[in-house]
Amino acid sequence: MSVSLVSVMFVSAGLIALGAFISAWKRQLTAALTGLPVMFAGAGIAFAGVARFGASASGPPLIGQEMAVLLALAALAAVGLAVGLAGRESSR
């Protein structure tokens, strides 16, 4: 059993599509926005996979991991802002 960049991309595609499905399917706005971190997770796995399997020796090899870190932070920020805005909207 081994892992290649193709299998990493396949997992990434599944998570991105699952996040898009969650965002499209849920009726509640705060439930639909939980698809956003799932899509970001898929993109982060793709970046980390490229850094692991496809990074060239000439350039910085860990840019994919850096993008994965920044995507996780962006997911937290997006969920925090959206939950806060949803709370404000429904309190009126």
Partner: protein, 168 residues
């Protein structure tokens, strides 16, 4: 990559998928928070299997924060105006997106390079984030700060008296 890391990657990917399905079909927000926590656990495991230990730790913390935000007790709901037909169109679109991405991954001709980094990589990442890409890191840090301040301000301001006193 040895078999242990490969098993860890596939188990983590399955965990993230199960968590995502739980997010999609759970009706209560506590269970959605649990699902998001499972997604975070799976993603962190996948990162760790891909020799991205530092990214795994950060992802675990961030997704735990997201899960706690979703599962909090004073959770509020906002109904969307989109009808059922548009939700179904969106679901079909997500399926088409998966088909397109999976086809691109299956047919893609990827270069394979030898990985020279370590299992955790925090020192190399720190050099990259704070020296090579310092501006991008500061931009994302500023975005996170603005988002969290905005969330706190939106949550605290103009709350009705009943909400402030804990009555709904």
């Amino acid at each position: 990559m040895d078999s242990l890391h490969a098993i860890g990657f596939y188990v983590s990917a399955a965990l993230a998928g199960v968590g995502g399905l739980g997010l999609a079909f759970a009706r209560r927000h506590q269970r959605r928070g649990l699902g998001l926590g499972l997604v975070g656990l799976g993603v962190a495991g996948a990162y760790a299997s891909l020799s991205a230990g530092f990214a795994a730790v950060i992802a675990l913390l961030c997704y735990a924060g997201c899960a706690l935000l979703i599962a909090r007790t004073d959770y509020r709901t906002v109904e969307q105006a989109a009808g059922t037909i548009w939700r179904q169109v969106g679901a079909v679109g997500a399926a088409l997106l998966f088909a397109a991405l999976a086809y691109a991954a299956f047919r893609g001709d990827f270069v394979h390079a030898t990985f020279y980094g370590g299992a955790f990589g925090s020192l190399s990442l720190a050099r990259l984030m704070f020296a090579h890409d310092a501006l991008a890191t500061e931009a994302v840090g500023g975005m996170v700060l603005i988002a969290l301040v905005g969330a706190a301000a939106a949550w605290r301001r103009d709350r009705p008296r009943d909400d402030r006193e804990g009555r709904s």
